[in-house]
């Protein structure tokens, strides 16, 4: 039988990556229901850190959805990212309470110190800055989340100090390692 290229392409591509298996298991767990796309994307992003073309193609084929559909949904929601994450991530809450308490000053100083605006990654790929609304800790505003750690009542200076410390620790660790 003649198998055209298109047909063979449409099967989910074979993969050795165990993280892909995790995604495949998730699709299966949701009974291949197409309406679970957002759940599957959450799981995929957790496993890979971001959503690249291979991964999105894999999901589309597993769930039998048009490619554009998957991309359209993933790009609609701010949580999903198509770029690899930086080594360190500093999330600054820009919700109303944090804004009122000076979150913009934190962002301004971050840009001045590290040259990174919200949504950007530093040139060396080590630090990304994200703005986010909101983790729901308004009583402790302004709020930061540095590498997953939730921090309240921060100032521009304390933020810079924390990040410098973080970057310096890496350097030390690298110097010790070899």
């Amino acid at each position: 039988m003649l198998v055209t290229k298109q047909q063979s392409d449409y099967a989910p591509p074979a993969t050795e990556d165990p993280r892909m298996d995790e995604v495949a298991r998730a699709v299966k767990r949701f009974g291949y229901q197409q309406d679970a796309l957002i759940e599957v994307l959450h799981i995929a992003q957790r496993a890979f850190g971001y959503l690249d073309e291979t991964l999105l193609t894999y999901i589309a084929r597993q769930m039998k959805l048009p490619l554009g559909w998957v991309y359209g949904v993933a790009s609609f929601y701010h949580f999903f990212s198509f770029e690899p994450p930086a080594e360190h991530n500093c999330v600054v809450c820009t919700g109303t309470a944090c804004y009122v308490e000076g979150a913009q000053k934190i962002l301004d100083l971050l840009e001045k110190e590290f040259g990174v605006k919200p949504g950007q990654v530093s040139a060396d790929g080590r630090l990304s800055v994200t703005d986010f609304r909101c983790p729901g800790s308004c009583g402790q505003a302004p709020i930061l989340v540095i590498d997953g750690e939730l921090l309240g009542r921060e100032t521009p200076e304390s933020t810079i100090a924390r990040i410098k410390q973080l970057l310096a620790n890496d350097k030390q660790a690298k110097e010790v390692a070899p």
Binding site: E53, L56, L67, W69, Y71
Partner: protein, 236 residues
Amino acid sequence: MSVITLTLNGEMISGLTGQTLLEVIREHGVELPTLCHLEGISERGGCRLCMVEVNGRMTAACVTKANEGMHVNTHTEKLQNYRRMILELLFAERNHVCAVCVMNGHCELQSVAAAQGMDSVRYDYLSPELPMDASHKRFVLDHNRCILCTRCLRVCDEVEGAHTWELKGRGIHSMVITDLNGPWGESPSCTSCGKCVQVCPTGALYDQGSTVAEMEKKHDFLPWILGGRGKKEWNW
């Protein structure tokens, strides 16, 4: 289907249950401007040009079912003013430079603006930096002229059945894309049927090689196909 009676601009008119207000209004010879609406594909209700006042409240005629006893006004001063404002917003959103556009003279946005008396744009032109995609061997996509009406998405999904087109992002950053945001020419799902190009109201989609004012579009094929397939007029 039963007959319903409603008031259109002070006159009693009749329509059928299930019809949209837009259908009823146009049947009675009152012209409403539209951009995202296209007969033969689903309604979107996005461009808001067909806004009318129903019992004093504004609603888009294309997505509102005609109901018994509705009082509909289509051309109040406020509505006319809002329509011009919406057109100004569209012209300010992207880089609509009619003079150097392939669709100059045939463009729906251009002619709706002229018809509605939109003589200038008071808002800041946003002048976004937008790419063009000329990777397809037959067609070109120019985001500068796109008004995000999504006719291309709908015709591709509903008539051609390929679902090549999608929207990416949201809000002011929305863009039409093919598949995973790759070059159109490399789209694995595109059948190059060209329906999207023909239904596009502006110069966002056009034939390779056309130059200023050369591109014209025809969407007569839609009722033809939809009558044949959808309404099962082709019985062989």
